[in-house]
Structures are given as C-alpha cells and as structure tokens.
Amino acid sequence: MTALAGAKDTEMVDNHKSASPDRVIDIEKLSLTFETGDGPVHALSDIDLKIEQGDFVSFIGPSGCGKTTLLRVIADLEQPTAGSITVNGVSPEEARLNRAYGYVFQAAALYSWRTIAKNVALPLEIMGLSRSERQERIARNLELVNLTGFEKKYPWQLSGGMQQRASIARALAVEPDLLLMDEPFGALDEIVRDHLNEQLLQLWAKTSKTVAFVTHSIPEAVFLSTKIVVLCPRPGRIYDVIESDLPRERTLDIRESPEFLKIAHRVREGLKAGHSYED
C-alpha cells in the first residue's frame, strides 16, 4: 500500500510542479456550499492549504467556521463544491479506499456491544487482517494509549477519557500515516485533557505521523502544533496560518514560556479579528 501511495506521489510530481513528494494534503481554492431551505450556507470558501509529512496542524476557530467540515472534506465525509484537494497525491475518496488515514471523532463512537479489544479490532476485521495480526495490533495500540488490561471491558465500564483513548487506539491500529482528529478531547475536563495532550505529543514524536487536529482551545492548539490554521466564520475561511517555532519536544511547562505566550497571543488576535460578533 505504501509502495502504491509512493508511486502515486511521484506521478503527482510530474503533473503538478508545485507538489513536493512530502506533501500529504494539498488544498487549492476549495469551497463547500450547503444548499439549505434558507438559501446557501458557505461552510468553506476559497481554502488554500498545504500540509507536509510529519506536520502537526491545528484548525482553530469559533463554532461555525468550518473547521470540522474541512477535516471531513479531507476524510471524504463531505464533498467540496469547488476547488481541488489531494490526500497523499490522490483524491480523498481514493485515499479513503487506500485507508490512508485514521479518524478520531468528537465522541469516542465505540460500539457498545463490543469490548474494548473488539472495538479496536473493528477496522482490522474490515481490512481482512489475520487473527494473529489483529491480536498483535490490538495489544500494541492499547499499550500505546495505556489501556492494557482493559481489553475485556465494555465501553460503558470506562471513563470518558479512557473511552476517547480507546478510540485513538482504534484509529492508530489501522496504522495510517495521517491522523485526523476532530476535537477529540473537547468533552473532557482540563486535567484529563492536559494529560492526553502530552500523551498525544509523545505518540506523534514516536511515530512521525502527520496529524490534522480540530480544536477551539488556544492553549491546546499552541501546545500541540507545528502549524496553526486560524479560521473565521461566514463564510468559513482561513484568516491566518501560524508556523510555530517551538521545539518539537515539549512538556506542559512550555506553556509558561514567552514564546508560547507570543504564539497564543497571535492566535487570540486572529480569532478576535476574524470574529464577526461585533457586527
């Protein structure tokens, strides 16, 4: 599969002079308009964005700015109405069929009739992996999110934070190079969230995956990201793209540092300027 994706990448280099072999997501002039009874809603308008291999990109913005929609377009869960997008050099649909990404939803979305191990096994069963391969991946990924020993528990027996970790293990078990996360820690309290943020960073450092992460928490975005995309609503568009110069190795203490606060300040300014509550 990786060989196939690689071949597709080089093909894309021939077609697009701008495309680099490390480019994971390439979005150009992308728009998405929902037709509703009250007229068209411009969820996304004229989005240009490039995401490189190994990036940790956060989408931040107020509700209704289209950040989740953008992530869903990348995942082929929504269809853009204009513009172009490639994921690993191919269309989102093809990328999805290649199982190029793992998606973590706002809610854990664990199936209640499956144990934690069986939930992690779900995508692996669909992919048609052998039993031993499944066992091996379940054990490895549950260990990665510190859930070893909870294999036989049902989702309702776990706390919200543990459920969300199980859903991350499920996304990781697919072994994608790209991780799409839609406010995965939004429903959790501050302390659990900090802990999971740290774990996620370690995971990202260990596996060199590309992550696209939706949030509306400024500290979370700044703490996690190498690149922060600030979106604003009506129509949903990119207001600012901030390249973070924080070191890749970070601990929670970094949030007290002046560099961190400077980036956070710029994000806050962007959110304020892009906001239309005043008018």
């Binding site: 082929d76 869960l77 999805r96 069929l97 979305a109 009739w113 669909i126």
Partner: protein
C-alpha cells in the same frame, strides 16, 4: 439501604408488607378479577337456572342453593373459574397426550403451526427490512403493500389462503403456518426497518472512514444495533402468530388444534370447552412471549448491553 436509620419501622398494618412488593398487588388484582367473575357467573347463569326451577315446578328455592346451582351448570353462559380449572385438569393431566380429547394434544397442533409460521414470518420480516433499507426502489414498491396487507381482515383472507393452497395440493401444517406468517412478518419488518436505520450518524461515518462495504456495515453495525428492536417485534410477532394459527384452524373445519376446539365448542354450546381452550391459548402466548423475553435477556447480556 445499608443505614439502619433508613429502614422503615415495622408497621402494625399486616397489609403493608403485602402491598409493598410486586407479588402483593398482583395477587390482589387476581383476587378482584376472580371475585368479579363469580358475581358475573351467578348473575348471567341465574335466568337459565330460574327457568329450570320453573319447569321442575320448584318455588321458593333458597338463595344459597340458587348460587351453588348457577356455578355447577353443565353448559353455563359464563362458567365459573373453578369449573374451567376442573375442565382443564381433566383434559390435560387426566388424558393421554395422544387422546383426541387432550387439550395438550390440541395445543401441540396449534403450537407447531405457530412456531413454523413465526419462524418463516420472522425470517421474511428481517429479509424485507434489509432489502428496504438498502434500496429506495424496494422501499417505495414494497412498503405500501406491506401496510395494505395488514389492513385486510385476517378472517377474510384466511379461508382463501387455505382453499388456494389446498387446491394446489398443499395441506396440513403449512397453510395454517402461512396465516401465522402473514400476521407475524409485519411487526418484524417494521421493527427491523427502524432498528437497522437506528445507528447514529457518527457510527455510520466511522464505517465510511474504514471504507466498509454494505455487507460489512450491515453485519458489524446495523444488525447489532437492531437486536433490541428485533426482540421487541418478535414478541408482538409471536402473539400474532398464535392468533393466526388459531384463525387458520377455524375456516377449514379442522379437527385438531385450539381453533378446532373453539369451533366445536361453539357448535355444541360447550362453553367450558371454549373457555378452557381460550385460557390455554392465553397461557401458550404468555409462555412463548416470556420465552423470547428470556432469550432477549441472555442475548443482550452476552452483547454487553445490559449493565
């Protein structure tokens, strides 16, 4: 609960304990029904009894004798509960199962076509539901017919089915089972359409991100989701199946089955026979529904859906 301060002090009223659980109230209701039944039996059977006295030229019969006579008629308008109980006892425990007069023999006949019809009906209902949720054309074309099928009175269509099937050489168990099928597929089909469509958007999206096929989505998401719906509709379908089997025995002049007992009972004014068959049918339906409830409990427990 653990705190002794929270335990209510023992009341002097002897009925407090009786009414606090679930058995207590149930027993009270049963006693009330049986009481009302006896009063009704005496009232309804009195005119015939008075006629009898008149023909025998008996006057001034004491009230206590009148009451005991109304509760001991051979063909009462409304039999008393103990008469039915005796009749059931005589036709079950005191008869050989193979005897034509054994209620268990007749129940067995009805039960077999109920179960066969229920099995076919449930399978048909599930298959229809799977077709309907996957194809808009099937939904548009089948759904009106499915609903229309249930608006036709079963008493009108049952003889047709039996006669038509007899004409093509199918007789015995299957025609009766077809009527059970006719009644039981509907709740299962409707319940399963709802159940198979009940997964949350997020659960469906998850399957989409895995590029799961329709069969995989059906098997790993929709069907597990529909299991509680299936059991609920199977309970309704089972009760409907039994009604169908009994109705199926009426128009054919069947010689065996609870329906046949009801029919011959009404021909000869054997109210005791009718009532005992009715009670047996109710008992059968109750047991079958309870059995499904038990399987449901076990299945949901196995699926980790009960806490």
């Amino acid at each position: 609960m653990t705190s002794t301060a929270l335990t209510p002090s023992r009341s002097l009223n002897p009925f407090t304990g009786l009414l606090s659980g679930t058995t207590g109230p149930v027993i009270v209701v049963v006693i009330a029904i049986i009481g009302a039944w006896y009063i009704g039996a005496v009232a309804l059977n009195t005119p015939f009894q008075l006629d009898t006295y008149e023909r025998a030229d008996r006057t001034n019969v004491p009230f206590s004798e009148l009451v005991s006579d109304t509760l001991a008629q051979e063909r009462p308008v409304l039999p008393a509960p103990h008469q039915i109980a005796i009749e059931i006892w005589q036709t079950t425990a005191e008869k050989k199962i193979t005897s034509k007069r054994s209620l268990i023999y007749h129940s067995g006949i009805t039960l077999s076509s109920t179960l066969l019809g229920f099995l076919i009906g449930t399978t048909l209902g599930i298959l229809l539901a799977i077709g309907i949720i996957h194809s808009r054309v099937l939904e548009k074309s089948l759904m009106p017919w499915i609903i229309a099928s249930q608006t036709i009175p079963i008493l009108a269509i049952a003889p047709m089915i039996i006669v038509v099937l007899n004409a093509v050489g199918i007789s015995g168990l299957l025609p009766k089972a077809m009527i059970s099928t006719y009644l039981s597929f509907f709740p299962v089909a409707v319940g399963m359409v709802k159940g198979l469509r009940s997964p949350e958007v997020i659960d469906m999206d998850l399957m989409h991100t895995y590029s799961a096929t329709r069969v995989q989505t059906l098997w790993k998401l929709r069907l597990p989701y529909a299991v509680p719906f299936l059991f609920t509709s199977m309970k309704i379908g089972m009760a409907a199946s039994l009604v169908g089997a009994i109705v199926g025995e009426l128009p054919t002049g069947a010689v065996a089955g609870l329906g046949a007992r009801l029919l011959s009972g009404s021909y000869y004014g054997q109210t005791l026979q009718i009532w005992s068959a009715l009670i047996m049918a109710a008992f059968l339906a109750g047991s079958l529904v309870a059995l499904i409830g038990l399987v449901e409990k076990l299945a949901l427990k196995r699926m980790g859906m009960t806490r």
